[in-house]
């Protein structure tokens, strides 16, 4: 039996070489570290892994991380999408500055963002003071974590949707209007389906970023076990105790849950592509 070549010969020149380089780089940068983490978990044994994960404090932290990441990503989907729409469709003074500002959460060290957000939202801070006036605590509660996660996730949705919105032909909307559709109808039946795949991508990216976020959150979270302690902090705590296996166990749990969520999002994306066709 002859071995089938891994990659069939293609009429495009240079495929073998570029594929080789790509696979090497992806392995070095992404697959090897994750593989090492998984190996550590396998060596530790599934029973031990489960013993580390199946504790109220770890469950509370995992639940908190994923729940708030999901809420923040949903918030970003809505408002990041709106922001993308405004930036792509309207011309107004200061648009370019606003457009550039969207990328700032990417550039700013997350710890710096966390400290700045904390300073703003503590009861003595500018916004925290206003909130305290109506009896609302933000910093050192789950609200604080939510705000930090919204901050770091916002650009993902906006930057994924913006080019797609810019590409939508005005004529499509005009056609819809000439055929007697209301604006809401046009939005729902014409615009949103075209945006759905990109929106899902942006949502997935924002979600993934929020789940693993550490630097900005620990400053504003308060880090109280069972209340405002995020899962990445638990990993750092285990490392602080030189407990590498337990740290790996929580890391693996996060990886598995994230993978399941991203897979689900991808399936929805495939399904929605099929339903409305490629855009």
């Amino acid at each position: 039996m002859s071995l089938r070549p891994f990659i069939r010969r293609s009429p495009m020149p240079g495929l073998g070489l570029s594929m080789g380089i790509t696979l090497t780089m992806v392995s070095l940068v992404v697959l090897l570290p994750i593989g090492a983490l998984m190996m550590r978990g396998i060596a530790y044994g599934p029973a031990n892994l489960w013993a580390v994960i199946d504790r109220p404090r770890v469950w509370a932290a995992l639940l908190l991380s994923f729940r708030l990441a999901l809420l923040a990503a949903l918030f970003n989907l809505l408002f990041g999408g709106l922001l993308a729409w405004v930036l792509a469709r309207y011309r107004f003074p200061g648009r370019r500055i606003l457009d550039a500002a969207v990328d700032l959460p990417f550039a700013l060290p997350t710890a710096v963002a966390g400290i700045a957000l904390t300073a703003l939202y503590v009861p003595k801070g500018v916004l925290g003071g206003l909130a305290a006036g109506i009896g609302w605590k933000i910093a050192y509660t789950q609200w604080g974590i939510f705000i930090a996660l919204v901050f770091v996730g916002l650009p993902f949705v906006t930057r994924t949707l913006q080019p797609v919105i810019e590409e939508i032909d005005r004529e499509v909307e005009e056609a819809s209007a000439t055929l007697g559709a209301s604006r809401a109808h046009t939005l729902r039946r014409v615009i949103l389906p075209m945006l759905a795949p990109a929106a899902l991508t942006g949502f997935a990216l924002a979600l993934a970023r929020a789940v693993g976020e550490y630097g900005s959150v620990i400053f504003i979270a308060g880090n109280l076990p069972m209340k405002t302690e995020i899962a990445p902090l638990l990993i750092v705590i285990q490392l602080e105790e030189f407990n590498y296996d337990a740290a790996a166990a929580i890391g693996i749990a996060m990886l598995v849950i994230s993978f399941a969520m991203l897979l689900a999002i991808n399936l929805i994306q495939i399904w929605s592509r099929r339903r409305i066709g490629d855009v």
């Binding site: 580390v52 504790r55 109220p56 404090r57 904390t118 300073a119 503590v122 009861p123 003595k124 801070g125 910093a139 050192y140 620990i218 400053f219 308060g222 880090n223 109280l224 076990p225 069972m226 302690e229 902090l233 750092v236 705590i237 490392l239 602080e240 105790e241 030189f242 407990n243 337990a246």
Partner: protein, 322 residues
């Protein structure tokens, strides 16, 4: 292209004969800035070639991990003996390192005191006042901060000496903590700059530093009746010594910390040192006497760590009811 990337990733080369890397923890930044300058002068005055001394600061546990994983430190000056024990367990220095220098290898010590708002509005005098109605206490998370472990043990020691159930008392204390920062500097910021809480449990040297930086008109230091003798120890990392010249330098550097000049610097930076002969009298007079319990009382770090702060240990039980 490859050369460019390699150039950008290149690390500063250390390890020449007269180089020394001291891996330390966060609050010693100011101390070692002075020590490095003074030592370099003393060392060249004694006829040695001028040394290059670098000091790296970070969380004590994270610094210990970095050394275990290959950070090329010749000298470690960390917050807890337990952290250096970990480096010893990894085979980088002998297990009996702590007996190699006087005073459990701690050239200076510190303790845990309270920092309160000016005029002490909540009337906090001792540990028992911390669990009073409406008092908010700021301390970092003992699971992630070495300093916070000293705070916790100091509270425990007070309860023992005052006929209270220590576990119950410490448990109540942590119910008065609204924010658990991950490190000591973060907790100081939360208290001093964010204005959260009524009292900060702090290293004595950090408390004085906060007074000096933020102004004496804002905070007062309250010294409790009982506290803990915090011993931040020092050691030479044998496995990272490349030659005799470097060994001599590393030993000389740590010996300098015990010299009258080194001790005077420790006093100046608000540490309780041992030899006051060269220190400024006002630096020494600053420290009130109090009842200090040491880590041996808790059976040493390896026992205290597992019993109180390990997985499922007492601290976990205080927070997560079984």
């Amino acid at each position: 292209m490859t050369a460019l990337v390699a150039g950008m990733l290149a690390l500063p080369q250390t390890g020449a004969a007269a180089d020394l890397l001291n891996v330390s923890y966060d609050p010693t930044r100011e101390l070692y800035r002075d020590v490095n300058t003074a030592f370099a002068k003393a060392w060249t005055d004694a006829g040695h070639p001028a040394p290059t001394i670098e000091t790296s600061h970070g969380g004590s546990g994270a610094q210990a991990r970095a050394v275990i994983e290959g950070l090329d430190a010749q000298v470690v000056t960390l917050a807890l003996g337990g952290d250096i024990d970990r480096i010893a367990a990894a085979g980088k220095l002998p297990a009996d390192w702590q007996s190699k220098r006087p005073h459990n290898a701690s050239p200076y010590t510190s303790t845990i005191v309270f920092l309160v708002h000016k005029g002490n509005p909540k009337g906090i005098r001792d540990w028992g006042d911390l669990i009073g109605e409406g008092v908010e206490v700021i301390t970092p998370n003992p699971k992630s901060s070495g300093g916070a472990r000293w705070n916790y043990l100091a509270a425990w020691a007070w309860a023992e000496k005052n006929g209270q159930d220590p576990r119950d008392f410490v448990g109540k204390l942590y119910q008065h903590v609204p924010v658990l920062d991950s490190g000591a500097r973060g907790a100081t910021t939360t208290f001093a700059q964010r204005g959260i809480g009524d009292v900060l449990l702090a290293w004595e040297n950090e408390a004085y530093l906060a007074l000096e930086e933020m102004g004496k008109d804002q905070f007062d230091i309250v010294v409790p009746s009982v506290s803990i003798l915090a011993e931040p120890p020092v050691a030479v990392v044998e496995a990272n010594i490349k030659n005799d010249e470097q060994r001599q330098l590393a030993e000389g550097y740590l010996d300098f910390l015990y010299s009258p000049q080194g001790q005077a610097l420790a006093y100046k930076h608000f540490y309780r040192a041992w030899d006051a002969s060269a220190a400024a009298p006002e630096d020494v007079a600053r420290f009130p006497k109090l009842d200090l319990v040491d880590i041996a009382h808790f059976g040493g770090w390896s026992k205290a760590q597992a019993e109180h702060f390990g997985d499922g240990g007492i601290f976990d039980q205080i927070y997560v009811p079984k």
